[in-house]
């Protein structure tokens, strides 16, 4: 188990280094003089000199990369241009809001998706299954930002059940979380259905039924336990989907999180802040999937034994 843990951790290091490289590259790609573009025409010479020094644009790329990795490792993501505050502080102000939103959505996706998929798989020709399958196709096809607007029109304007946007109470969380969760609910339901159906066809399920195990136990002990790994993998990948979706959901619902910060920063040409926020998202995604990998070991002893 320990070797397995260490191996997985080691494998994440090159990926993280690559992520930092790509994030650094985004500023390299800016056409023209990035510093002039970021600071605008009224910048003071000191500000220009300071930003140039931070970005190190006169040094070779390899040197810049090593320096950048060093700074990131020490938790220094530079200073935002608009607010002239450390990027780490700016991100620190907003990340709890995004965490709250994405965790709420992930819980909805996991619970509703797994239950719906399970019911579909156990009664595969029922009306519920037909509705759930069509529903998940729609869920996969709806643009998140549009779903949000439709929910606002129906539940905030017409029915006045929930506020239009902003934060503050659980009621504020409902519409954004549901909006963000819908595509993931659909994905999880589809995956659960097909994994459980696969398992229910296995010989050991037939054996269990033949020896008289109650159907409830067959489903919960055999089917769901064995279908757990693909579902868990999908939930890990859905975390990425949710982070991207959060950018849209936060914009629609004026939710003060990382996603809205990124969009604002892009329009303000505050690339240092954009870099920092993208980096935080990507690193969080890598770490979540690492955690999922490690959870396999606990769920399925075969995984950790193979190393």
């Amino acid at each position: 188990m320990l070797t397995f843990l260490v191996r997985r951790l080691m494998l994440a290091v090159p990926v993280l280094l690559g992520v930092v490289f790509v994030v650094m590259l985004t500023v390299e790609l800016i056409p023209g003089d990035a510093v002039a573009l970021m600071l605008g025409e009224h910048a003071t010479p000191e500000a220009v000199a300071k930003l140039r020094d931070y970005l190190g644009l006169d040094k070779p790329m390899a040197v810049r990369y090593v320096e950048y990795v060093g700074r990131v490792a020490r938790g220094d993501l530079g200073r935002s241009i608009q607010q002239n505050r450390p990027v780490v502080d700016e991100l620190g102000d907003v990340w709890p809001a995004t965490l709250e939103l994405t965790v709420a959505a992930l819980v909805i996706a996991a619970v509703v998706g797994v239950v719906a998929g399970l019911v579909s798989a156990v009664w595969p020709t029922s009306l519920f299954d037909a509705v759930a399958r069509i529903g998940s196709l729609f869920g996969l096809s709806m643009p998140v930002f549009w779903t949000g607007l439709v929910l606002i029109v129906v539940f905030a304007f017409w029915l006045s059940w929930f506020p239009v946007g902003g934060t503050g109470s659980v009621a504020h969380l409902v519409l954004p979380a549901v909006t963000l969760a819908l595509p993931s609910v659909a994905m999880v339901a589809r995956m659960t259905r097909s994994s459980v159906l696969d398992v229910l066809r296995e010989d050991y399920v037939r054996t269990a039924r033949a020896k008289g195990v109650a159907e409830r136990l067959v489903v919960s002990k055999h089917a769901l336990r064995n279908a757990a790994i693909p579902i868990l993998t999908l939930l890990g990948l859905q975390a990425g989907q949710l982070m991207g979706g959060a950018v849209l959901t936060e914009t629609v619902f004026a939710w003060p999180g990382l996603g809205r910060l990124i969009v604002k920063a892009i329009f303000a040409r505050d690339y240092v802040l954009v870099q920092g926020a993208v980096l935080v998202f990507a690193v969080a995604f890598v770490l979540i999937n690492l955690a999922v990998d490690l959870a396999y070991g606990a769920l399925d002893p075969r995984v950790s034994r193979q190393g």
């Binding site: 990926v15 690559g18 985004t26 096809s141 643009p143 607007l149 439709v150 696969d198 950018v247 998202f281």
Partner: protein, 298 residues
């Protein structure tokens, strides 16, 4: 990911004509949802190609006295903030959606086929480098890589296409590389090499042919995602710029009128939903018809 190739090689040799299995087309035709998907995609193509003849009004023509007109009446789907006909703009919007998604599929396939073949054939350091790069790209959450690319390159149709294409490439690279690795070890490829076939010939005749169904299915499902990502970028103001009629952009401008005229934002969104649904249904149907083993994997 080379499910199709592995399965094909491990299957028992078929000597008798297999009458129990329908042809791929026969199977596809029996799937009502898939046929519905095909119909939607055909409709989209017709709308995109025939936009100048199908649209009842000029999509850019403003009529300020008729702004925010409700659906029905002169404007079937109503008018937007500037009194432009929403139906005409939705029809023209299909052009942007299709052009961006087709081209980004092309970008993803070009990158994916080239790098996947290189990695699979050359092996060694090239393979390690390509696969590590793929992992890094996959480490970016959905949409954020595209946002990062567009924020650096600037908004617009071309950069949106590039951003979406780069986002789709890693999966193609993995599929193609897997297929090349499997095929490299087969006897028929050794035989072809021994007979003096060039690497390129082996690649196109033997390897890529195996991976074709997977690539077709992936491309169709990717079209759906590409339309969604283009719409999302345009909604955020990072994609297609006004006055080009893009569905995502139309939803974004309609957002300010949500309380007084909800149709301005919601109708173009419906167009996105229908288009994406069409490609998803078609992709699912193609997967089941061409290679059911891919179910749950793509």
């Amino acid at each position: 990911m080379a499910i199709s190739a592995v399965g094909a090689l491990e299957g028992p040799p078929v000597s008798v004509v297999d009458t129990g299995r329908l042809s791929a087309w026969g199977q596809f035709r029996r799937n009502r949802l898939a046929v519905a998907g095909l119909a939607i995609v055909a409709l989209l193509l017709i709308a995109a190609l025939g936009a100048p003849w199908l649209a009842p009004f000029d999509p850019a023509k403003q009529s300020l006295i008729e702004k925010r007109a409700k659906p029905g009446g002169k404007f079937l789907l109503g008018a937007d903030e500037f009194g432009r006909d929403i139906l005409s703009r939705v029809i023209y919007g299909s052009r942007v959606a299709l052009v961006v998604s087709v081209l980004s599929v092309a970008v993803a396939l070009t990158l994916g086929l080239t790098l996947g073949c290189l990695a699979g054939f050359l092996g060694g350091w090239t393979d390690v480098l390509v696969m590590r790069a793929t992992e890094v790209l996959l480490a970016f959450p959905y949409l954020l890589l595209a946002i990062a690319v567009v924020s650096a390159l600037g908004p617009g149709v071309v950069n949106t296409t590039l951003a979406v294409g780069i986002w789709g490439a890693p999966t193609v690279i993995r599929v193609v590389r897997g297929a090349v690795l499997v095929a490299r070890e087969t006897e028929y490829v050794s035989a072809a090499r021994a007979l003096g076939a060039t690497a390129l010939r082996v690649l196109t005749r033997h390897v890529l042919r195996n991976v074709l169904p997977t690539v077709i299915v992936y491309s169709t499902l990717f079209m759906a995602n590409a339309i969604l990502v283009e719409a999302a970028l345009s909604f955020l103001g990072l994609g297609v710029q006004p006055p080009t009629p893009s569905w995502g952009l139309m939803v974004s401008t309609g957002r300010d009128l949500l309380l007084v005229a909800p149709h301005v934002a919601t109708i173009p969104g419906l167009a996105i939903l229908v288009a994406v649904l069409g490609f998803n249904l078609l992709g699912d149907g193609l997967r089941d018809a061409l290679d059911p083993r891919l179910r749950g994997r793509i």
